[in-house]
């Protein structure tokens, strides 16, 4: 990029803070899964935490926060398709009749 381009530059400090948050979340997810063991909602909690982590990485490390809307569209649409693949396939697999 060139001088006149108004690209956002994140200060180094932010990255370290983000890193600390990510580390904290990693500790939490390990702790929740191994020590508390919530049973059936384990998966749910773990996925929520992972998604928070992933969002943070995307927004700050990957600067998605500062990207234009079309980048957002192409970042989110694949996720939508993925949920569709999982969702609709599950509708098939778990509703089959057993004669």
């Amino acid at each position: 990029m060139s001088e006149n381009h108004d690209e956002h530059i994140t200060p180094y400090k932010t990255y370290v803070i983000i890193w600390l948050i990510l580390m904290a979340l990693t500790v939490i997810t390990v702790y929740v899964a191994r020590e508390i063991d919530l049973g059936s909602i384990n998966l749910f909690v773990a996925m929520i935490i992972a998604s928070i982590k992933a969002t943070i990485v995307a927004l700050f490390f990957m600067h998605l926060k500062y990207e234009d809307s079309i980048t957002w569209v192409f970042a989110l649409y694949p996720l939508f398709l993925l949920s569709l693949l999982i969702g609709l396939t599950s509708i098939d697999v778990f509703n089959r009749i057993v004669p």
């Binding site: 398709l81 693949l85 609709l88 396939t89």
Partner: protein, 534 residues
């Protein structure tokens, strides 16, 4: 429209400026890459088409007498895989898209020229792998359903690996086109001035980018199933064979729109030029392409209505299937309305475009038969499906492709095609195609299953008719090939804009110069302003 700069150009064209092997196989010029693709896919079309002629000959009689049943199975596997993965999916988008996108949006090249060359090389690598796969060719059908594909001792691995590599070629081409269309339009070329061909290829590119990886991983899992012994699709190991079908069609249904949307784009370009009228309902056609691209991801399991999927899933998918027919219907009616009060010229390209309307409608409407749950139970895996798919793929895509060849030929090669010969070839293709595939609808309804090397005598007369049709079709194709090759040498020199078209690609020389335009044009109007006063 932009000001034409053509008259003043005296630079050598992209075909002439340099010659020799390296200047082609290391070129990053989108037009040359387009030609490389054109030649490659044509070769595969001829191979796969010739295989089809052998298959039809075998089916002339109920018994197997030309090839053994096993060989027949190999033949339709090769026919299907080559036609789909090597010809029709890369088809219009990689060959014509490469050539035309930068010309039509007023750019000097695609966004990533080196990546573009890389995609072509990947295509070649895929083709090379295929050659090895021919040593013991697979006999699974182009759908590679497990568990058969995991068990047969033919070479499934190499064929799927070749397709896997080809998949990445397709992904990277799509990526390149999306970026090009977003970022490289000439000044004044707003989204609503874009030619509809560009809208079509943009929609196609989305599908290429986001559907292809799923078939990639699916084929990779199949390869792992055969080599590492993993068992996602193997019931003996707790896997689920129908899961494979779900994954396969998650790509392969969108893939049928990868095949058809570019052809729809071609039609949207040819019709206005030869009716000298603006395209009717520009926005409706443009947005319906994008709508198809989005909805077509949601309908894959309509191929699985009798595969053992759950009823709930079958019902949802049948509903979504009908949803995707709506945008297509919109397009058909808009094209038809474009002809109204036009000044219609029966150029051979126009004949192909008109036959597209006619034949694709048949193909699309029979798609509704198989989309309806109760009817599909009867029709699935019969010749009805074979007829449906050839009507949309040949009657649709291939007609669009041939139309495009006849239409843009002067721009590609700087020579005019022999129009009379073109019309004669069209006549044979049109008649032959219908004679080959129309009887198959009846065969299917009567219950003739597909992928049958031998069949019951009661189907014999219709099968014979179909085979005879394939000969007429082949004659038409040979005449056409002759015309295309002959005109390269003896065709008249083409003017820059032989049809007085308004779109950008015609405003430069024929064939275009190396960097397309002397100066990047400034666009002031859309390219369909025919009949406009002043």
């Amino acid at each position: 429209m932009a000001t034409g700069t053509a008259a003043t150009i005296s630079e050598p064209s992209f075909l002439e400026y340099k010659s020799g092997f390296r200047s082609w196989f290391y070129t990053t010029d989108h037009k040359r890459i387009g030609i490389l693709y054109l030649v490659s896919i044509s070769i595969f079309f001829i191979i796969a088409g010739s295989i089809a002629i052998v298959m039809r000959a075998e089916l002339f009689t109920p018994e197997s007498n030309i090839v053994s049943p096993h060989t027949y199975n190999v033949l339709f596997t090769l026919h299907g895989s080559l036609m789909v993965f090597f010809f029709i999916v890369p088809g219009i988008s990689a060959s014509l898209g490469n050539f035309l996108i930068p010309l039509m949006i007023g750019a000097r090249d695609v966004a990533f020229p080196k990546l573009n060359l890389g995609s072509y090389w990947l295509y070649l690598i895929g083709a090379a792998i295929l050659l090895f796969a021919l040593l013991e060719p697979a006999d699974t059908g182009w759908t590679f359903y497990t568990p058969y594909s995991a068990k047969t001792n033919t070479n499934v691995i190499l064929l799927t690996l070749g397709i896997f590599v080809l998949g990445f070629s397709s992904i990277l081409t799509g990526l390149n086109f999306i970026v090009t269309i977003h970022k490289m339009r000439a000044p004044g070329m707003t989204w609503h001035r874009l030619p509809l061909f560009i809208w079509a290829l943009y929609s196609t590119a989305i599908l290429q980018l986001l559907a292809t990886p799923v078939v990639g991983i699916t084929l990779l899992l199949l390869i792992a199933e055969r080599t590492l012994g993993i068992g996602f699709f193997d019931p003996d190991k707790g896997g689920d064979p129908v899961l494979f079908q779900n994954f396969f069609w998650f790509y392969s249904h969108p893939a049928v729109y990868i095949m058809i949307i570019p052809a729809m784009g071609v039609i949207s370009e040819i019709l206005p030029v030869f009716s000298r009228k603006p395209i009717f309902g520009y926005k409706a056609i443009a947005y319906s392409s994008v709508a198809i691209a989005i909805i077509s991801f949601f309908v894959w399991a309509h191929h699985l209505f009798v595969a053992g999927i759950s009823e709930t899933a079958a019902i949802i998918f049948s509903f979504l299937t009908f949803l995707v027919a709506v945008p297509t219907a919109i397009k058909v009616f808009n094209w038809l309305a474009t002809l109204y009060k036009g000044s219609i010229q029966f150029h051979s390209a126009m004949l192909y475009a008109l036959s597209f309307l006619f034949l694709f409608t048949v193909g699309g409407l029979t798609g509704l038969h198989v989309g309806a749950l109760a009817a599909d139970i009867h029709l699935h895996d019969t010749y009805f499906v074979v007829a449906h798919m050839h009507y949309v793929m040949i009657g649709g895509t291939v007609m669009g492709f041939f139309g495009a060849l006849h239409f843009w030929y002067p721009k590609w090669f700087g020579k005019m095609l022999d129009d009379t010969l073109g019309k004669i070839a069209w006549f044979f293709v049109f008649i032959g195609f219908n004679v080959t595939f129309f009887p198959q609808f009846f065969l299917g309804v009567q219950g003739m299953p597909r992928r049958y090397a031998t069949y019951l005598p009661e189907f014999e007369s219709l099968m014979k008719l179909s085979t005879i049709g394939s000969w007429i079709l082949a004659i038409g194709m040979i005449i056409m090939a002759y015309n295309l090759i002959k005109s390269l040498y003896s065709g008249e020199k083409a003017p820059d804009n032989p049809y007085n078209s308004l779109s950008l690609e015609w405003q430069t020389s024929s064939p275009p110069i190396l960097e397309n335009f002397k100066e990047i044009p400034v666009v002031t109007d859309w390219s369909y302003g025919y009949g406009k006063k002043g």
